[in-house]
Amino acid sequence: MSHLLEVEGLVKRYGDELVLDGIGFDMDARDVQVLVGPSGSGKSTMLRCVNRLTEFQGGEIRLDGTSVMAMDENDLRRQVGMVFQDFNLFAHLTAKQNVMLGPRRVLGKSKEAADALAMEELERVGLAAQADSYPAELSGGQQQRVGIARGLAMDPKLMLFDEPTSALDPELIGEVLSVMRELAEEGMTMLCVTHEMSFARQVATDIMFLEDGHIVEHGDPEKLFTNPDNERTEQFLRRLTEHGDGS
């Protein structure tokens, strides 16, 4: 039986620069796969290959057994939610309208149905009271939770999180992580790029350490944190922890 997501020998180049050099891993439904690694290691690029926001030059990515290159890109993205580092909420729409846009214009739901669905998703991230606020009226943490609700409203098979807390003030990180934690508990399949080591350790089913476009280490969170095989992994994790990131 095939996995929900299969990545095989993924190669990505920007000009001459090799950004991803043969990445491979699998995810099953309900998995929470965390990608860590120094900046420039290709984590975000890897994520963006999955929903084809970025083209890749070699290898294969399969969703439910179908190559993403063989799928219509809009159809693929309908099934894969994405949460951005900079939130990227639609600035001219209220929180609720942000969540409604996809269901309405992509899934073709009626206004009433999309409205009800949006309220449900906003409830889920604890923002029903802010439904009529515009992004600029919300805190960063609230904006990111709307961003998550927007992804969830499409009922995706897989959610991609691209450093969802990196643009947030420290005191706002917790609210976003707790929403993500709940999602994981509800069984959402999640592929996350993050530097939040406490989240990774508690929630991840698997952690990959990426460096220079390679997977340096890959495995069970507890093992990776307590007894990494690779010296680079150990150094990287130690540095993150020393900087007080593991709160």
């Binding site: 929903n51 926001l53 890109e73 809009n74 159809d75 993205r77 309908r78 894969v80 939610g81 994405m82 951005f84 900079d86 990227n88 909420l89 639609f90 600035a91 001219h92 846009l101 996809g102 214009r105 992509v106 606020s133 515009y134 600029a136 009226e137 927007r150 992804g151 499409m154």
Partner: protein
């Protein structure tokens, strides 16, 4: 009288006596302004969008067409539409000329508005499964239109003042009537010019106030952060 402009009470009297004629001509001037701006908007917004999101060929074509039109004097364009293409009455020819030129400028304003929107908006729209066209329509254009208003205010001012050029094809707007008042009392020429300038100034200021209001009404709420 040693002033730079030979102004005289009797000439002001002449202006006063004919002020009604000049003010009555405000309507045709505004009508032409409005029609030209509408043509400019309807043609210019798609052109600006093509420049940003079009294919290589259509973007190139939109860009070149804009350069040619912006590089041609308005009087020449008006002679082309009136004498060359034979559009009539003068209102139609003037609307076409000012409209085409306005499209070339409004297209640039709209292009700038679109380009000022962060890349992330497009990516977010695509990531929920919207097609490129859907993303342009539902996410990019609504935001660009709001950023378009201040540039459009300039365009309103320019088109309004350039309606005076339509006097050259005998469109009976403000300038045309003023011009016809000169032969009867040539000494009143400076007073007539100043009066007409004053009328344009009033129209410019009030029009811009109205557009300020539009800008405000359509601005995206931010909890007062930008005030």
């Amino acid at each position: 009288m040693t002033a730079a402009l030979p102004l005289a009470t009797s000439d002001w009297g002449y202006v006063w006596a004919n002020l009604g004629t000049l003010i009555a001509a405000v309507w045709p001037a505004l009508k032409l302004t409005g029609a030209a701006l509408v043509v400019g908007f309807v043609v210019g917004v798609p052109l600006g969008t093509l420049e940003v999101f079009g294919g290589r060929r259509s973007a190139w074509l939109a860009r070149k067409a804009g350069v040619v039109v912006r590089g041609t004097p308005i009087l020449v364009i008006m002679f082309i539409t009136y004498f060359g293409l034979g559009l009539s009455p003068a209102f139609v020819a003037a609307t076409a000329a000012l409209g085409v030129r306005s499209a070339a400028y409004q297209g640039q304003v709209f292009r700038g508005a679109l380009q000022s929107i962060g890349r992330g908006q497009m990516e977010a729209a695509r990531s929920v499964g919207l097609s490129k066209l859907g993303a342009i329509r539902h996410v990019m254009i609504p935001q660009a239109l709001r950023r378009f208003v201040p540039g459009f205010q300039n365009e309103y001012t320019i088109v309004l003042k350039d309606t005076s050029i339509a006097f050259a094809i005998s469109y009976t707007e403000i300038f045309y009537h003023m011009y016809n008042l000169i032969p009867e009392q040539t000494t009143a020429t400076p007073e007539l010019f100043l009066t007409v300038a004053g009328i344009y100034l009033v129209l410019t200021l009030t029009g811009n106030r109205v557009l300020d209001y539009v800008d405000d009404a359509f601005s995206i709420p931010d909890g007062g952060a930008s005030r």
